[in-house]
């Protein structure tokens, strides 16, 4: 049984090859179900892998997926944590360029926007955007949704989300001193940001 599973892992499939019946296997990444005959076909070229289902799910079918050799750039999905650089701050919205999705950097940058009500969890109508972000800040945010045609909607309304790194007006990287303030080590000047809680 284990040899059969190991041998199945070395099989290379091409698009259009039948991987199984939809009643017996579930289509994962790189596979799709044809509606007219309920068969699971491969949609990529690569190695065919069978994953066992999680033990307490109602659907006990194994998942079959095909892993291709071309690595695609990461794309933000709702719920994923992203690292972005703030580009523009207005009274209602801050725009940022998403550079990393999770641990992977993106191939081409995506635009995200943080609305005033998504900056923090408490007193959301009293938020001053200019005291939360400045252009050039690196922020950690979570993707709320695909947003509108222009940008993804991001949120920093959690303790561990917000500004992780910022430069002071003097040009030095600032040190966080509270969840609303960061201090420049060179001049001692304190600037207001929505700071992310990094570490334990």
């Amino acid at each position: 049984m284990e040899e059969a599973a190991a041998a199945a892992e070395a099989v290379v499939v091409t698009p259009g090859e039948v991987l199984g019946k939809a009643s017996q296997v579930r289509a994962g990444r790189g596979a799709y179900v044809a509606p007219h005959n309920n068969l699971v076909y491969a949609s990529l070229t690569g190695f065919r892998r069978t994953l066992s289902p999680p033990p307490n799910s109602p659907d006990q079918r194994p998942t079959v997926e095909v892993t291709g050799h071309k690595a695609h750039g990461a794309v933000p999905e709702p719920g994923s944590v992203v690292i972005a650089r703030v580009t523009r701050v207005t009274a209602r919205v801050a725009s940022a360029d998403i550079m990393c999705v999770g641990p992977k950097s993106v191939r081409e940058k995506f635009t995200g926007s943080i609305r005033q009500q998504d900056v923090r969890a408490t007193e959301i109508d009293k938020v001053d955007m200019h005291l939360s972000f400045r252009p050039g800040d690196i922020i950690r945010a979570v993707v709320l949704s695909l947003g509108d045609a222009r940008a993804y909607y991001l949120s920093t309304a959690k303790n561990e989300l917000g500004v992780v790194s910022a430069e002071s007006t003097a040009g030095e990287t600032m040190v966080p001193i509270s969840w609303t303030e960061m201090q420049c080590p060179l001049t001692g000047q304190i600037e207001q940001r929505k700071v992310a809680k990094v570490g334990g």
């Binding site: 259009g16 799709y32 076909y41 071309k70 045609a149």
Partner: protein, 241 residues
């Protein structure tokens, strides 16, 4: 003019049901996300695929699926006489549209909303059957780019000269003015996605000619599959698996 001799040989020495020699190579354009060179006899075509990437023209963005764009062009040196205007003429625009529709039907566009897939095909040497060679090259390039597809689209042309169905017409046979049927086929799903014909044919003979082209498509599909498996094995070997 005699296109099939009494012994049953065509002008280039092939039998009526014989296809020209095919050769394919994956990964010819390093900068593209996927690329392939496809040769059918003397017809040589190179395809490059870019995508999925962000849509460049926001007005053309589709919210629930990917936008597929295709451009077909012939190199100036591809035909016997040096061509003046390789792109933008009516034939190129029509073939671009045909290739785009064929590939779009096969790509799982709903998996990549708001993105764009560009397919560029250029004919390096034209000797009949450029449309088919372009579709085959585009299939290989899309598979190389890792773009999810329903099946491999393969294409082959067939004609009817001297009362004989002929498979895979070359330029001389194509310009004879007889019927020229181009078929785009999904081999594993057993479906025809492209069917074009020039000139006229009675319906029963048309069925034979179309069936012959479909057999040609199946043979090309087997070859393409072998090439892709070989390419994957090479890549895995280089990665040390």
């Amino acid at each position: 003019m005699e296109f099939v001799s009494p012994e049953g040989l065509r002008l280039d020495g092939r039998r009526p049901m014989e296809m020209r020699q095919i050769r394919a190579e994956i990964g010819a354009v390093a900068k593209a996300d996927g690329s392939a060179v496809f040769e059918m006899g003397n017809t040589k075509v190179i395809a490059a695929v870019y995508g999925p990437r962000e849509v460049q023209n926001r007005t053309q963005q589709i919210n629930d699926q990917a936008l597929v764009r295709c451009e077909y062009s012939m190199a100036n040196f591809s035909t016997g006489d040096r061509m003046r205007k390789p792109k933008g003429d009516r034939r190129s625009t029509e073939i671009s549209l045909v290739i785009r529709q064929t590939m779009e039907a096969c790509i799982l566009t709903h998996l990549m909303p708001r993105s764009q897939i560009d397919i560029f095909v250029q004919v390096l040497q034209a000797d009949g059957g450029t449309r088919s060679a372009c579709i085959n090259a585009a299939t290989l390039a899309l598979a190389d780019a890792g773009i999810p597809m329903r099946d491999l689209v393969t294409s082959c042309s067939s004609g009817y000269l001297n009362s004989t169905p002929l498979l895979d017409l070359n330029y001389v046979e194509d310009s004879a003015g007889g019927p020229d049927v181009t078929v785009g086929f999904l081999p594993k799903l057993d479906k025809v996605t492209l069917l074009q014909m020039d000139s006229k044919l009675p319906i029963d003979i048309f069925e034979n000619v179309m069936q012959l082209a479909i057999e040609g498509c199946k043979a090309i599909a087997n070859y393409i599959r072998e090439i892709m498996l070989e390419n994957t094995k090479q890549l895995e070997y280089r990665r040390g698996i």
